[in-house]
Every structure is written in C-alpha cells, then in structure tokens.
C-alpha cells in the first residue's frame, strides 16, 4: 500500500491561451497545493519523466500522500525529439528508518511495567507492512490490541487478543498505550480525558516526526518505519522474554466487557421482524464473507456498525472513508481494488458495503463496474435516509396531509428506493431483500456468480439504531 503511489494527473488548458479565457482555464497546480504533497506542471514535455518520478517518489517516501501533476492541453499533440527527453529510472523503494536504540529499550521497559497495557494498530502499520512483527509482539507478550478503522486486519479481527468489542473500556482504563501508526485525532478522541485516563502513558510509533506529540505529550516516541521499529521492539522481548499475565484483572475486565457487548450485539442481530436492523444484516453478511475478500465501506451507521461486525483477516483489505470521513469514495475505492484483483488474477472478491445516502454520492460508478465486469458485490444498507428515514406508510400519510417533501426531514429519502435497479440497468444482477433469508440467499448467489457484479439492496428498519454508547461525547468518532 505504502508502496503504491497516488498520483492525480490533471490537464490544464493550452499554455499559449493562458489568461485569455481558455477552455477550462484555471491555476490547477496552485489549486491542488493544499490537497497534495507535491503539485507541479512539467516545464516541457522533456521534463515529464523527471516530474513523474518526483511525484511518485514523493507519494511513497516518508508519510505517503497524494501528488498532482498537471499536463497542459497543448502537450497532447506536441512533437518532441525523443532524444531530448530526459528519461529517468523509477525511484528505489522507500528508505527505511529505525528508532533510536535507547528509546526502544525504554519503551520495552514501560510496556513491561504497564498494569493495563493496550496496543492500538493504525493505518500506518498497514502501510508499513508491519503485520508479521506486530502479530508476533501481540502473541509473544500476550497484549490486548485495538485496530483503527483502516488498521483492521493487520492482525485478524477474530484474534483472541483483539479487544474491539470492548473498545471504549479499553481506551478509558489503559495505563500504557502503544500507538502503531495511529494518530491521536478525532477518531481516537484526541487522546484526551474523559475518553482516556489523565495519566495514561502513550508510546507513539510513527514514520512522521511532526505527528509525534500532537494533542498529548507522549511518554515516549519511536520515530521510524513502523515495521522496522516493531522488529526493534521484538528484539528487546527476544533478549529478555516477557509476557503480560493473561489472567490479570485487566484482561478479565476486558473479556467480560467484550462478552457483554457481543451478547448485546447478538441480541440485536436476532431481532428480525418486521424488518432487519444493522446487526441482523451484518451478522448475516459476516457469516458468508470470504476470508480474503476486500471490504470497502462508507456511510454513517452503516460504516460505523459494519466495522464492528464485519471482520478483516488480512492487512490492507479494508478501505474506509477513514479519517477525513469523506462520503462518495466507496465505489471508487472498490473499483480500484477490483482492478488490481482482476489484473493480477488474485481471485478475490470486493465487498462494498454502502449506506443508502453514501451510495447516492457516486452510484453511477456502477456503470464502470459493469463495463469492466469487476468482481464486486455491492451491499446497500437501506434505511430510507441519513441516520434515519421514514417508512412508506408514514411518508404516504404525510404526502396525503400535504407535501411529504416539505414535512419530511431533509435527511429522508423516498421510502423503499430500488437501488438494485441501478445495477440491472447496466447489466449486473440486482436483489431487493427484506428478510435475513433473502439476504443470505442473494449474497450466496452473488458470491457464487463470478461472471457478473451484483448489488443487494437491503431494506432495514428506518429507525434502526446503534447500541447505546458509553459516551455521548463525540459519538461520531467511534471506530
């Protein structure tokens, strides 16, 4: 992942028409500055390879990020002498750095002395391909861990040491937290009380120096490639083996909380009438999800609750709206993943779990999915609206009483929309499901049929809510 550059190529207007009111004239390089690590227009066709090399390198070296290269329209038809082009080799793989040895020793010692330790595995760990080391650390030291949304799968979600089901509890009472490429931003409640103990000791491991110390003064920082630093930590625990007592009170508390939370989820999942709720749906889906599938997700409750139920078993197999929470990225993510899968004959399926509102942002991309016949199963979890919609009866009552669209909240869609027809319009398979059985059957068919993409439009209770939360504060930031 960190090895895959993200370059956006744009096309500004012809240079000779600049300032004249050219077709789509705009200072594009300047406009992309705020959004990219590197934004440039090659000064000539000859310079294109150099600029592309720099964009690629900049995108994958250090903290990865997007870069923008602008190719003005007149380059398209310009002829140059091939000998004048300055070809350049592709850059070397990103350089790897490690943490200071003394800091690593200190970190190991802090971990050893922790009463209630917790590892948080972030997207940075996935980017760094640190899965092997982190898993070894978790298992060798018997430590509880928590993945962030995009950190899911670095260690399988069903690993016994994964305390996802006791997330709030784990964050709130841990006395030592080791962050593997996870930022203390809104997703982690900024690292602040009341979501954390005021005296919690953070050990931050990150590739980006400027990230260290954000919002909270950490006890210790380990700057470097997360994979390399994890191996450094492992060396310490190899030299002087140690493990956190599996029968500690902390583990007991976490396990109890996990048990009760899981029971609550299952209880919700078992409620099947008249319509399904989020848990019913996701428990059904989880049962059939291929181990190696790539899960893409966006939405509000759909993404948040789905993330807690749907399990990832492999790193870099979940694509999520992520830190920025931008809606509309799901289908693009799914297409990108499926193109790689298809081009490399990996044989995996891409499961794209969309809220109905989220699907509305870029649902037309279904045409692309059908055109390239991509191995994608789209699930639209449909509650007729954003956070909550109205059922057809209520809507019709309103309609009869006047104009539903005037009275209905702006976050409600028309009830029972047939999103599956977007898929059939373009030649794929569509399903409209209202019961767990229909869902199971349609998903089974979809997964079995590798000849066509499909979309399952899953009707749920319009008021289907999440479980009660421990904190009202910043509910949106639950991972």
């Amino acid at each position: 992942m960190s090895k895959r550059p993200l370059i956006v190529i744009g096309g500004s207007s012809e240079r000779s028409q600049e300032t004249m009111g050219a077709f789509q004239e705009f200072p594009q390089v300047e406009a992309c500055r705020l959004y990219s690590k590197f934004s440039a227009q090659p000064s000539s066709i000859e310079a294109i390879p150099t600029i592309i090399e720099k964009a690629v390198r900049c995108s994958i070296y250090g903290r990865p990020g997007a870069c923008y290269v602008d190719i003005p329209a007149d380059f398209v038809n310009l002829q140059v002498n091939v000998n004048s082009v300055k070809y350049v080799e592709c850059c070397m793989p990103p350089p790897v750095s490690m943490a200071e040895t003394s800091a690593v020793q200190l970190a190991a010692s802090v971990i050893r002395n922790a009463k209630q330790p917790l590892l948080i595995i972030g997207k940075g760990a996935a980017y760094a391909h640190a899965e092997e080391g982190i898993r070894k650390l978790v298992e060798q030291c018997k430590l509880p861990f928590l993945p962030t949304p995009m950190g899911k799968g670095v260690i399988p979600d069903n690993h016994p040491n994964c305390v996802r089901a006791a997330r709030s509890r784990a964050l709130q009472f841990a006395d030592v937290i080791v962050l593997f490429g996870a930022r203390l931003n809104w997703i982690l409640h900024f690292g602040l009380p009341p979501r954390y103990r005021p005296d919690v000791k953070f050990i931050q491991i990150d590739i980006c120096a400027e990230e260290l110390g954000n919002n909270v003064r950490p006890s210790l920082t380990l700057l470097g490639d997360i994979n390399a630093v994890t191996k450094q930590l492992l060396e310490q625990f190899d030299k002087t083996p140690w493990q956190y007592p599996p029968e500690s009170q902390w583990w007991k508390t976490l396990r109890e909380k996990m048990k009760s939370n899981e029971a609550a989820s299952k209880e919700l999942a078992s409620k099947k009438s008249p319509l399904m709720n989020y848990y019913t749906v996701f428990f059904c889906v989880q049962e059939q999800l291929p181990r190696d599938c790539i899960v893409v997700s966006e939405g509000a409750n759909t993404m948040d609750i789905g993330r807690t139920v749907l399990e990832n078993y492999l790193p870099r197999h979940r694509l999520d709206a992520g830190t920025f929470g931008t809606m509309g990225v799901g289908l693009g993510f799914a297409i990108a993943a499926a193109v790689v899968v298809k081009a490399r004959h990996l044989g995996q399926r891409v499961i794209c779990v969309e809220g109905d509102s989220a699907f509305g942002f870029s649902g037309m991309e279904v045409e692309t999915i059908c055109r390239y016949n991509l191995p994608i199963v789209l699930l639209v979890v449909n509650n007729n609206g954003i956070y909550q919609g109205l059922d057809a009866d209520t809507w019709n009552e309103m309609l009869n009483a006047g104009d539903a669209t005037v009275v209905a909240p702006p976050s409600c869609f028309l009830p029972n929309l047939h999103y599956e027809q977007i898929m059939t319009a373009f030649g794929g398979k569509g399903y409209f499901v209202q019961t767990p059985e229909e869902l199971q059957e349609s998903l089974k068919q979809s997964l079995a049929d590798t000849t066509k993409p499909s979309l399952i439009n899953i009707m749920i209770e319009t008021q289907a809510m999440r479980k009660a939360q421990d904190f009202q504060w910043l509910t949106r930031s639950n991972m």
Copy 2:
C-alpha cells in the same frame, strides 16, 4: 438572475479542535478563495448577519459570482444572547451604471457606418435583464444578431434577425461587432483571425471594466449595466433614426448561408435508419418543446448540436455547462430551476438534455428529482460513449475476441445502457426509445404527465457526428 445571489454555505470543523485533527478539518475559507468573489468565516455568531449580507451583496453587485460563507461546527449548538446579534437589512438592489454619453454617441456612429454589422448577445445581457432594449434595438435598426450559449433567449432564437444558423460566416465577415455582455474567450474564439476579420471593429458593452480589451483591442468600450447602456444606445437611434438596409449584400449572404445550413441540418434530421442521429433527435424534440420551458443541457456533441437546434424564446431559460464547460452540473441546474418553478407555481417544465457521459456525473440526483417530484423531463441522448461509442455487435465481437474493455477505447460505455431504469428505480417514468416515433410518443406522454418526472433514454447512432465544420481549429468552441 443577476438579482439572485449565489452563496455556498460550508461547515468547517469545531474551532476549538482546529489543528488537532478534527473531523474533516481543513482550511475551507482559504480553499474557496480561488473559486469565489468573497470567502469568509464569521468571527462569531453575532457576526453572521453581517457576513451573509456582505456575501449576498458581493454576489450580485458588479459582475455576479459565487461567494462562500463558512459556519464552523461549534456554531450549530452555540447559544448567544439575541440582543448581541447585529442584525442588518438586506442590501439594496445592485447599483446601475451607464456608459459615458460621448462613447455612446461614437458607438452609434460606428454602427451606422458598418457595412457588415453583427450584434453578439451574451450571458451578461441576460443577467442584466436587457431583453426589452436589445430586442428593440435589433428590430428598430434591423441588425443581425447571434446569441452565445447562455445568451440564447434574450431575443427568441426564431427571430428573423437571428443568424445562428450562419454563425461561422457571421463571425468571419462582420466588420463591426457589438458585444452585449459577451466575453471574447474560447467560446468566441478569442476574437482573433482566422475566425474574424483582422480589421473587425469590436464595440464591447460590459459591466466589468477589466473585461474590456481582453485579447483584442476594441474600437470602443461602453462600461456599464448592459440594460442601461442598451437604452442609451436606443436613445441615439431614437434621436436620429436609422436602420441597416435589409436588402444589403450582407443580409443576403447571411440568409443564404442560413438557408443552406438549415437544409443540411434538416437533411441530417431526415436520416432515421437504422438509428437516429443528433439532428433527428433534436428536430423531434424541438417540435414538442413548450415555448416557456427551461432548457438545461450538458454534454459534448449533445450540448453543442442541441444548442443549435433547440430554440429558446425567453431570456434566462437556458442553463448550460457554459464557459467553463464543467460536466456534472446539469441535474443540479435542472433541480434548482424546477424548485423555483414549483415554489412559485410557475407551471413551466424543465427539459434537461444530457449526453450519456454527462449524465453519468450526477445521475444519482434523479432521486432528488423524484423525492421532490420536480417537473423535469430528462432526455439522455445515448451514443454509447463520449464523442462516439461502439454498437453492441462490435462490442460483442471484441468481447469474444478477448476483452472488449481492454480493446474498446476508454471513452466507450457498455452499449445500450438502460439509463431510464435509474428513473424507474426511484419511482419516475422511464422510456427506452430507438425511433423518432417512440421518441415523439414518449416525449408527448412525459410532457402531458405533470404528476411525475420522467427520463427518456434515446438511442442514437454510435458514430453520430455533427455537420462538417468550416474550421477544424477549436471545434469545441462552437456555440
């Protein structure tokens, strides 16, 4: 139109979380700077009215444009003492300025002495509500005129003095051109040879001083509100009446060219088998188009050719991708227009003419159209691709030979996509039409049915081309 402000309200993250990695944190005011006339965040809730007043005023005073006001998330729940809020009245209507009297006199004299005069009516004339004056000027002085895309309808397109059908000829040989709020940008080929005579005299009428003289040194500039300046010009021709000889060689040339061009279009329109072409479609549509409808359009050939066939009879009744040529704006434009129509009970229809590629940008907005039951008829002119697609047989051959999606140009969509099902999925009416008769019938039904929006998916020849052009140069800039 110019009286309707365009304000975008955004919501940045909570101010107290700035720099902490807040949810969707971004410097939004800064990011909108390049795209707006005014971009600001009120410094407090108390300051909101002042900022809104300034944004509204800035949007409609001078050359109209978009403004951005950012309301940070924490404002939403903040309580303030109502007495501390500084309420402000809405601004006065935009101030009106006029051109210098001597310049107006000179302009009248240049027009009087023109051998081959031409008026070009731009979007600025529509914004200025200058239709009455300009029509009087055209009719009183018997002058030929040409509208720009968004200037269409300021005078009805079927007015005998409208030389749209001889556009290239008119531009190329006019010796005096009066621009009413039309910019000499790419749409007007920058005002340069070979599309114009090297010695053409431009008289520029514009509300924006900085626009005057762009790309070409005009003979004369009239700075002011276009409506007011038109009236000033009329006064001159009232004082000393004059009319351009209707039997001049120039009029003869233009009429002949119009005749032959119209014949060529009709000839193309008459070709009906096996599939329709653009002209067949637009001639069919034009026959049924209500006089007072609002036409929205986007696409490549669809927009360009549609613009030449579909007539506007009223000012500010055409919404077009316009100068910037941005795709994806059509459905938003149609919705905005239909909401005004509906809210004011104007009883008009909105006809949204989309290329298939253009429709793909924001086709999901059909849900909004259905939800609010907006009086929109969507026409998707479908040639299976951008500029040109492939027919199903060719596609299947490719598919059998290997992978069509590898061989097919990236600008080709799957053949015969059922865009009308996007509409039926959301409860509107959908039609898939392949013949003029089907088109006529479905359009008749759509226009007759005021209870539901509809979408007509119109299949045309995949290679349907435009007429041969006089100029290869900058074909895209035909209005």
Copy 3:
C-alpha cells in the same frame, strides 16, 4: 494617478530547473495572488507583450491596483524570432461609466434636503481626476467638505469650506454624508456610531460596485467614474441651482469648532522649549512648504498630526502610508515621485516627512536618492522612539542603573540619533536641528539648494503628544 499602472515584474528561477531546488525557486505567481489584481507568468517570450498589456490594463481599469508579471530567469538569455512575437498596442484609457440618472436626481434631492450635510473626498476622487467638478460643487452649493488622507488636495486644504479642523465634530453630527471615492473602512470608523449619527444618510459614489454598502446600508449609491458622476450631480444643481445656507447653525458649529481646534494647535505650536513638539515643527514647516510640492509621509504621530497641519493645494500631491498603514513605504514613494518630477522637468520639490521609526524601515534608500540626485527634502521628526522615546538623561540613568536596553521599552531608540549622517554618508546635506530657528534656517537652505538632496533631523520632545481627542475609541484611525 489612475492612469499610471502599477506593475511589479519579478523573476522566478529557470523553468527547466523547477522542482529541482533551483536558485531562489518559489511559486511566485501563486505567492502574489493574494496581493494583486492579476498575477501571471507569460507562457513564452512571444507572449510577453500580451501579458504586459493585460497587466497594465488590469491595473488601471476599474478600481486601480497592483499587478504582478513573472519573467523566469531563462527568458533573459533566450533568443526568439522577432516575427513570432505577438506585439500588441497599449490599451485605451480606462473606460468611463456614469451613475443612473434617476439615482443622481435622487441624490441631488437628498443633498438639498440635508440639514447638516458633509462631503467626504477620498483617494478615489483623486484617482478619478475629479478635482474640477468637486470643487465646483463645493463652491456652488457652499457645502462643507473633509478630505481623507490621500484625498487631500483634491480641493486645497486651505479652502474656506474645508472643515478638517473640525473633523470629529463634522462626522459625528452630519445628517447627510456624500462619499466621493472614500471607503467606510477603519479610517472612517466604519461609518458606525458613536462616530456617526445612527440615522446619518450616506450617499456613496464609487467606481467599485462591491464597495457600495460595506458596513453601513447607504441611502443611495452612485456607481461610476467619480469624475463623471460628480459632473452628473453638477448638472442637477445647474438645472435647479441651490446652495446650502452659509449662515446655518451647522456652518456656525463647524466654524466654531474649527476655530477652537486651530487655536489649540497654535497654542501647542507656540510651545518651543526646551524642545519642540509636533505642532511647533509642522507649523514651521508649513510656512515654507512650496505650494506645488509633493508631500510624502509615514509614521504614527508624525503622519497623523502632520496631516492635520501640512496643507495640500493640489490633487495627487500627497503620498501617505494610507489605508493599509504599512511603514517603510515613504522613501520608495518619494523616490518614485521625484523620478517623475525630474524626468518631466516639473521643477517641484518632494518633501518626505518621516517619523524616526518609519525612517528606520528603509533609510538606506537615501543612497538611491543621492545617486540619482533626486529633489527630495527628507524631514525626520525624531522623538527617540515609537509613540514616545526617552531623553538622553533618562536613558543614561537607566544605563548606569543597569542596562537601559533591558529596562527601556522596546519602542525606544537610542536618544538623539544622527539620522542626518545617513544623508551625509552618501553625499547629501544633513542638518541636526533642535530649535524652530534651526529648523527654519535648515529648511530654507534645503529648499533653496536644488543641487543636492537633504535630510533634516528634527529633535522634538520625547513625550510629544497629540491634542486630546474626543474619542479614545480607534484613535489610530484619525485622518
């Protein structure tokens, strides 16, 4: 002035070295965007004339402003075929627009009905060369007027209708205020109470539509070239002559206030020992100031008080730090003015009145003054600091007690600095003066000697203050 474009030419690094770490590489066009009306780099040498024409035109059309043109380093030595260069003529003089006739009539009527009218003459009036019309209006209608800092001289400051000496009073009690190209920004206290009556009627005359209505909802706006609009107003008063009664209570109040304020100033000016104060200095200077000299000024009290005493008799003969209040501009302004004077053999003197702190920003420009032997007399009004300094005795006491520089406020300079030696170092004449007599004599010599620039370093009381003000609020915004 408005006819003189302001173009900054910059030089970015060689285009072929962009992104490589070239000498002084920076995105200069982008960096200048916020500061200019137009910022661009020609796409080729051939395009330079077009870009320069656009920059010049943009700088003087509409509201005047600075433009930036970037010439990359490689252009300097590049050879092009002279025939490929697209030469363009210089643009026409700025287009002139006028206000709507009905608005002008209404404005005249509001003025006629004013009980306590006031005209405010801004920098825009000077830029528009509106002096003749405005003076006629003032004299014909016998109206009191007030110039803004850069509006001084549009009508001579010693005109009997100029109520500068009763500025606060005039602003506070006027019931109708006509703004001639003056903005309601901080300099005019935003047009708000308590500095104005809550019910004051503003008539705004401005070339910039977006300026109208800023901060206060005006009664009437006249959009157009200020000179043209003034003539329109005059026509109204020519058609139906009217004059404001010279013996009105309003005139009486203003005259009394002027008298008492002038007396207070004179009283201050008469205090001559032990050291001069601002008033002593400026009264001395004013006595000898040539009528046609150009006065440049910057500083805090020096600029503010100097502006009230030093009179301007001609428009566009005062260059001031102005609205933005930027220090360091004085010597550059003086040089620019003097170069014009010298190149055109106008024979005027440029008097540059600097506070000691302001002089510190760009005092080294004295070398340029001497090198080009420019007809500049520099006056440094020296109170040993910003707002107020320390005298040598106090300073030495502090020095003996420890370290003066630790104890002395950071706004204090070393006492009695010999700024005049900066001038002598470069070959001009320097004077260090401590008494009115010395000041008079040195100024006399400086003005008499046209062979050399000179600098008079004028020592004043370190605590020399301005007169007591009516308002503590926004003292800095006194014009």
Copy 4:
C-alpha cells in the same frame, strides 16, 4: 540549532472587524502558508499554549523550518479566566531515528570500495550536531571532505582532509560521494554532469525521506538523524577497521589542485595596489579572525569568495544567505547571533561580512546593533556596486559628459560611499579603509574594543573579480 525553534508571531486585525476594512486587515495565516511548516491562528486565548506548543514542535521535529502563529489584535486586551487556559508542557526534544542496519552495512562497503571517495558535509549535519561523529569518520578513514556553505565548521576548515580549495576537481572526479545532510540543489549543481561523473555513486544521508533521490538516483539512501546515522557508519568501521590510502592518486590529485588554487589565491591576495581586491581583504581578515567567532555573510562575490578564504573552526558558527540566496538577512542574522552570545555571556564576537549592495538592504539595523550594544564587527566590502562598480574618476567623467546615473549601469552605486558613517550616526565606531594596513589596524581596534560595535568600510577595486573558474555554467552556485 535544530533544537532552536523558529516561530514568527504576527498580529492580524481585530476579529470582529474582519471583512470590514480593519486596520491592516489581511488573511495572514493563509498568506504564510507557502512559507512555513505550520501556520495557524489560535481559536481563542485559551488555545494559545496549545498552538505555540504545536508550532515549536513542528519547527524542530523532522526537517526544521519556520512556523507562523497569528495573534489577532483583540487578543491583546482580552481578559480570560486563567483557569480556562489550557496550559501545555513544552514538547520533548526531537525524536531521533536511525538508518536500516543493512543499508548502513552496504554503505560502508561502497565506501570501502571507492576509488575516489568524497564526503560532502551539509547544513543538515550541523543542525543534527553530528560534528563529533563525522570528524571521527573523516580522521579514522582518512577521507577527503567538502563542506557546503552552512556546513562549514562541522569539521574545521583548516583540517588537512578538507579539500575546499579543490572543490570543482573533487566534485568532478569523485566516484563515490557521501552526502551528510546536503541537498543536491543548485548549490551542488543538482548532482549532474558535467560537474560530476555520470557514474558517480551518491550515498545520501538525510532526515527527510522526500529529499532522497532528488535530481539523481542515489546508489544508497540512509534515512535518519544524521548524527545517529553517522554513528552507525562509525560502528561499521569500528568493527572492520579500514582507511582510505593517504597516498592514493586521488589524494595526490586533490592535494596538487589545492596547492595550485591556494597559490593562485595568495597571488591575488598579494596584489595590493592601487586598491585591494577580495583576496587581499579576506586574507587580512582571516589572519585576525578569532577562532570562536560567528561569521555572518551575505553578498555576491563578497559571500562567495569570502566563504573560500574565511575559515570556520566550529559548527553552527556560520550564517550565510544560504540556499535561497536572499539578500538583506545578514544584519538580522548577526543581531540574532549576538543576542544569544550576549545573553549567555559567551564572550564571542560576531563578524558580519557584507557586500556593499547586500548592506543596503538592511543597513538601518545598525541602530539596533548600537541600541543593544551588540558585540558585532561589520565589514562592508565596498566595490561601488553589484558585481562591479565604477571608480570616482570614471563616474565624474560620465557626470560631466551628461548624467552618470543615466549612463552608469543600474548596478553601480555612487563611488566611495561612507557606510561607516551609518555606524557613527548611531554611536558606534566607523572606519574607512583603503589599504591592507588600514584594514589590519582598524580590525585590530574593532576586535579589541568590546565596548562598542564597529563598522569597517573596506574600499576595493571596483572591478575586483574572482579567480577564473573551471565552469562558466552556473558560476553563481559555487559554494
């Protein structure tokens, strides 16, 4: 140095007056974005400590850089409850990272196998306080090294392994070059032929991943803190000792070239009449320069030639216009250095070597130097112009023939300007010197007198040139 944050605190206008035309209103945070690593305005007074912490941390963590914090004017007088302020501790020292062990081993091996090795010591090595390790490496392995302008002093310039005097030769023929925090930008000729062998192997050591691979594909990259990485390299050479043969042909070539270059310099330095040249001056100065002084320098030839003659013996004791080549920074740098020296009673002298043109940018800062009585000796190397001036006779001839200022190149100043009087005007000591003896004497006095700052205005030949260069190409980029 890297431990010293660079924070610029600015003051924007009062927030409640934003968009109203407030005093000096400007979007300052946005304007500083391009120039800083972090630019922000605290959202409240309470947030100031958090923002300052972040700015400080961001400035010193990772690659160091400037940060901007904006304090709006209304904060100055605002009262807050001290308990609501969120105090934060200062951040920890910057985290240290190391290179991958395998890469370090490989680097050692490449160095061992080099035929013509060269170390280049950049400013990054100085920032990282890597002097001890690098010196050990140089001495233990007997490698030739070259400092960049701000890398001077990491190892003393007079170290026998320093090949400064054969810079071009060393760069051109080295087969393995190790970069210690030195960028391959214009200063190092982008690392490209003909200034380098096409097959040269670069080993890049840098703290910034994105810097690695710029312009040239390196053989090897070592990402990490330069001090830490140097120690890693040393470990390799400790484990398996190795030294580069001191009698190799490469060392012989370098020594011969150094000898001949030094002889040429001495030859130039010995030319003392009629006026001194750069070499005469700098050889004189070098003789008296205290070992521990801080040398500040800016100018064109003055900086470039001065850098080759004036020696640094300690790291972080040279402040240079540097990579960006900005003129006007010298006096500010000198003041900053002297304030630290004075505040910490370090007893060092700051020697500020200025070209006459460079001095003109901020010569007025001499007042600050005098006010705080800073231990600075200013040397102005005066050739009457930029690159070259005119002598008084030529100037006068021109003056008599017409106007010298019209005929003289714009880069010529008035001949024999008395810059030393700027110093005497403010109370320091000034010297005007024309011979080596006068220079020696005045410098001796200046260094001896610790009670006052002094300025020595050193007249040199107006046409004083540098030595002939091997390359015309990019002469400006000689270090």
